[in-house]
Amino acid sequence: MGNVRTFKAKTLVPGKVTGPALITRERLSFQGFTDAEKGIFHSPQTELQGKSFKGVVLIYTSGKGSSVGPSALDLACRYGNCPAAMVNLEIDPFTVQGCVMQKIPLVQIEDASIFYLAKNGDTVTVDADKGEVIVS
């Protein structure tokens, strides 16, 4: 476990969870880019196409796009496909709004090195109560 890295984080939505990482430097929207029922990104316009977001710690630059983004996230959660936590570098209000309503821990980190220090499938603990993201 020599590769454990801890990132300081600002908490937006509290909670503590551990899950596998799903990472992209892209900005993401759930509206138009996801299949709620299958719990996957289905749009060819994201490099996460085909990947499941169910139970993952989603690490990405920021949210984007439509004001119905939180509604698309809501539908995915109603199908049982809720992500475990979200980690953003920049904060778009729609992401906060979606996470608040679905009780998904959300933090903001400044250190972009997470994009090359963590890879898909790494175990990530988001401790939004302490303000930490731990990659192991």
Partner: protein, 423 residues
């Protein structure tokens, strides 16, 4: 957050489940973003398309809703009622010409039931995406809570009203309570530029303004752009700039400044309010061309659908389109669909523009949004493999939602394509 006595009562559930749920989520949201209190609002703009969708804004969450859940919710929301002027985004169909869009009676009935509940709830179901030009026009300094990707940006930037980028849910909660968390765009200190956009080419039509918006949203990400060397836009050009900026794949722009046009920014200095821009981006002829190339994946061939009116057409645009289309005929096998508001269509009919347009075989629809119709209406879908449009928002969204090949070009080019049946 600090709550007053009345707000605390609502939070404690003394005013019913719906208002309590709205207050709980607004408090959690306000806490997340560091708001210390609420600010009273004068208007809201959100969505009220069909009850199954509206009901999803509220608990129970985490499971699919049954018909019984939705019926119970419909009764509750009608009683809760909104506290401020509230309008809504486009519907999933034209409320009068739904048959021509291919919808069936059961969908129509469910939409009309939604309209009735909206009325009981105090919501003006105007079903359009340009409320700032029609039924919901805020004044400078008004605190408002608006969803809709482009309307919020327009109201902040060209009217000087104050709205954060609120989702459909947050805006509906704010409407029901008459308040919204006081942070972000509601506060003077946050209403200043972050990035400079230096415009070094001519913008000739609304599509060019859309291209500028796409460039801006993509480059700025999360921020507030200030434009220099940009001529004054027409209202229609300003609409396209706002719509394209926030459908660009960037992180989201709540406010933009065109010095001398935006009411809060008489000068560039005033727009930045003492700050230095963090970055400068140059929009020149090459940058403009690159946006057109990026949005065009349909260089030639037959076109199934030419779609104009994203955001909804103004009366002026309808008049201009009637002039361009008069005496012409839309090609067989190609559809020309235009979208506007019910109010502008009524005027267009009264003034004879609608008749000239429809004599060509084109359809002038009201209320509807092409996406809402396409995504939500379980009807035999109109062929839309190849779509032409003059709107960046439409071009970007159509490619994503319909996986269509897109032609993006100015209004004249699009009309030409509709007449010829292809590019």
């Amino acid at each position: 957050m600090r709550l007053n006595e009345e707000q605390q009562k609502i939070l404690d559930g003394k005013k019913g489940r719906i208002l309590q749920s709205a207050m709980m989520d607004l408090v959690k949201y306000g806490t997340a973003v560091g708001a210390e209190e609420f600010v009273p609002i004068t208007s809201a703009h959100n969505a009220f398309q069909f009850m199954g969708r509206v009901a999803r804004c509220f608990p129970p969450r985490g499971r699919l809703l049954t018909e019984k859940d939705i019926d119970k919710f419909s009764e509750e929301i009608a009683v809760a009622r909104v506290k401020v002027k509230t309008t809504v985004n486009p519907a999933i169909m034209d409320l009068r010409k739904w048959r021509q869009m291919g919808a069936d009676k059961s969908i129509y009935d469910s939409v009309m039931r939604t309209v009735e509940i909206a009325r009981k709830c105090g919501i003006m179901a105007n079903y359009n995406c340009i409320p700032y030009l029609t039924d919901n026009i805020p004044l400078m300094g008004d605190h408002i809570s608006w969803a809709e990707t482009s309307a919020c940006l327009y109201a902040n930037s060209f009217l000087g009203a104050r709205s954060n980028r609120d989702s459909v849910e947050i805006s509906l909660f704010s409407a029901l309570l008459g308040i919204t968390p006081n942070f972000g765009m509601h506060l003077d200190e946050n209403r200043k530029g972050t990035d400079l956009i230096d415009v070094q080419c001519e913008l000739e039509n609304t599509s060019d303004w859309g291209a500028l918006g796409h460039f801006t949203g993509e480059r700025v990400g999360v921020g507030i752009p200030v434009f220099i060397d940009l001529r004054r836009p027409s209202v229609e050009e300003a609409v396209q700039l706002a719509a394209a900026t926030n459908s660009s794949g960037g992180g989201g722009v709540p406010l933009l400044f065109i010095p001398g046009v935006s009411p809060e920014a008489p000068t560039v200095e005033a727009a930045f309010n003492g700050d230095k821009p963090r970055k400068t981006y140059v929009f020149d002829e090459a940058a403009k061309r690159a946006i057109y190339q990026k949005l065009n994946c349909n260089p030639e061939g037959k076109v199934d659908m030419v779609n104009l009116g994203c955001p909804h057409l103004t009366l002026h645009e309808i008049k201009e389109l009637s002039r361009m289309l008069e005496g012409k005929r839309v090609a067989k096998g190609t559809k020309l669909w235009l979208q506007t508001t019910s109010s502008f269509r009524a005027l267009a009919e009264q003034l004879g523009y609608a008749q000239i347009i429809e004599a060509t075989g084109a359809k002038l629809f009201a209320d509807a949004c092409l996406y809402n119709w396409y995504v939500n209406t379980p009807v035999k879908r109109t062929k839309m493999n190849r779509v032409a449009t003059d709107s960046v928002k439409n071009a970007f969204g159509a490619r994503r939602s319909f996986h269509s090949n897109i032609f993006f070009g100015n209004t004249e080019r699009c009309i030409d394509i509709a007449i010829k049946g292809g590019v």
